[in-house]
């Protein structure tokens, strides 16, 4: 489906606003509450966010690089074949299937404190800055690296979508943890 660049990016900006607000709500919880988890394999609120921070550390520099080199004119955005597939896979649905996490992205077992939340917040402010800049660029042509494979590259617009939907996915997960225990 061909959509205008603005609509795609506007939606991502709004989801990021809501993600930020959930983080502010998590900030009101105690460290004990933030670390609660159902069992050894499942994630606590902080583990969900730490997982996103690992992704952010990889993707934010990739997005920044893309924004820097993208052609400076607006062009309607169209998902790539693979990019579109990954975006749909990660985008939260009503019933979310559990997905496997590669070991290097799994935060379980690391010692976490509330600085995880502040780091994520700073990542989101950077992301918003990049989304604003991207709205006047051609986000079709520029490609970025992806975390899951060294061979595949994704369109800048797909990478933006992937990152924001992935954030949303795990914030929903963290919210469920909060609702169950707190």
């Amino acid at each position: 489906m061909e959509t205008t660049n603005d609509n795609v990016l506007m939606e991502l900006i709004e989801i990021t606003r809501i993600n930020l607000n959930h983080i502010e709500q998590f900030k009101q919880l105690s460290l004990k509450e933030l670390n609660l988890k159902e069992n050894k394999e499942s994630w606590s609120i902080l583990e969900c966010i730490a997982h996103l921070n690992i992704y952010g550390d990889f993707y934010l520099p990739e997005l920044a690089k893309g924004v820097l080199i993208a052609e400076p004119f607006h062009s309607p955005f169209k998902s790539g074949l693979l990019g579109g597939y990954f975006v749909q896979m990660i985008r939260p649905k009503k019933e979310m299937k559990r997905m496997k996490t590669m070991k290097k992205f799994n935060p379980v077992g690391s010692k976490l404190d509330a600085s995880v939340l502040e780091k994520f917040k700073q990542h989101q402010l950077q992301l918003l800055d990049l989304l604003v800049k991207a709205s006047s660029l051609n986000i079709n042509k520029t490609k970025t690296a992806v975390s899951i494979s060294k061979i595949i590259k994704m369109r800048l617009g797909d990478t933006f979508q992937f990152v924001v939907f992935h954030n949303q996915r795990h914030i929903i997960q963290a919210k469920k943890v909060q609702q169950r225990f707190i």
């Binding site: 506007m10 709004e14 607000n21 900030k27 402010l125 918003l128 800055d129 989304l131 604003v132």
Partner: protein, 178 residues
């Protein structure tokens, strides 16, 4: 402030509030890049409007209980704005869209006059603010704002006031001692 209360009364009477939202402390009503043409009425709470420039937040304006606020650039242009609007404490807001407001104002010459006066007031405040920003003495900047809106110093944490006054929090607390 008479014009504002008549405007509010008309919105109430004709049930034109489109939504009410409650935001917890530090939540965002708006972030950079979005288009926001709503007018908000603060039922309770405090908010601040700021921009981020090269990782630095610059506070532009505050809104208190009973104030009307908007992302004024977007409200006028209907284009994306770089403003952030964030609550300073838990805040309850009532919302009317630009369209709803325009529709209401078009019905009544009285309201048109009142709306014009409200806009004039905003322009006047902006002129004051422009001078605030151009005055080089931090003490003078502090005094002007203290005289103009003493409320600010009761409702808002020092770090945001300092940002609004374009000075460090240390300078602000030194000035407050005199």
């Amino acid at each position: 402030m008479k014009q504002r209360s008549i405007l509010l009364k008309s919105i109430e009477e004709q049930e034109l509030w489109e939504k009410e939202v409650v935001l917890q402390r530090n939540e965002f009503l708006k972030v950079a890049g979005s288009i926001d043409t709503n007018l908000y009425f603060i039922v309770e709470g405090t908010i601040r409007i700021f921009i981020i420039d090269e990782d630095h937040e610059h506070t532009i304006r505050f809104g208190y209980k009973d104030n009307m606020i908007a992302s004024l650039d977007s409200f006028i242009s209907e284009k994306p704005s770089s403003y952030y609007i964030q609550t300073i404490k838990k805040t309850r807001l009532k919302i009317i869209s630009k369209k709803g407001l325009n529709h209401l104002i078009a019905q009544s010459p009285e309201l048109q006059v009142f709306w014009k006066m409200a806009l004039e007031q905003i322009i006047f405040q902006q002129l004051e603010r422009e001078q605030d920003l151009l005055i080089s003495s931090p003490a003078e900047r502090y005094k002007r704002v203290l005289d103009r809106s003493p409320q600010l110093f009761q409702e808002v944490p020092n770090k945001y006031i300092a940002s609004y006054l374009r000075m460090t929090p240390e300078t602000l607390s030194r000035l407050k001692k005199y």
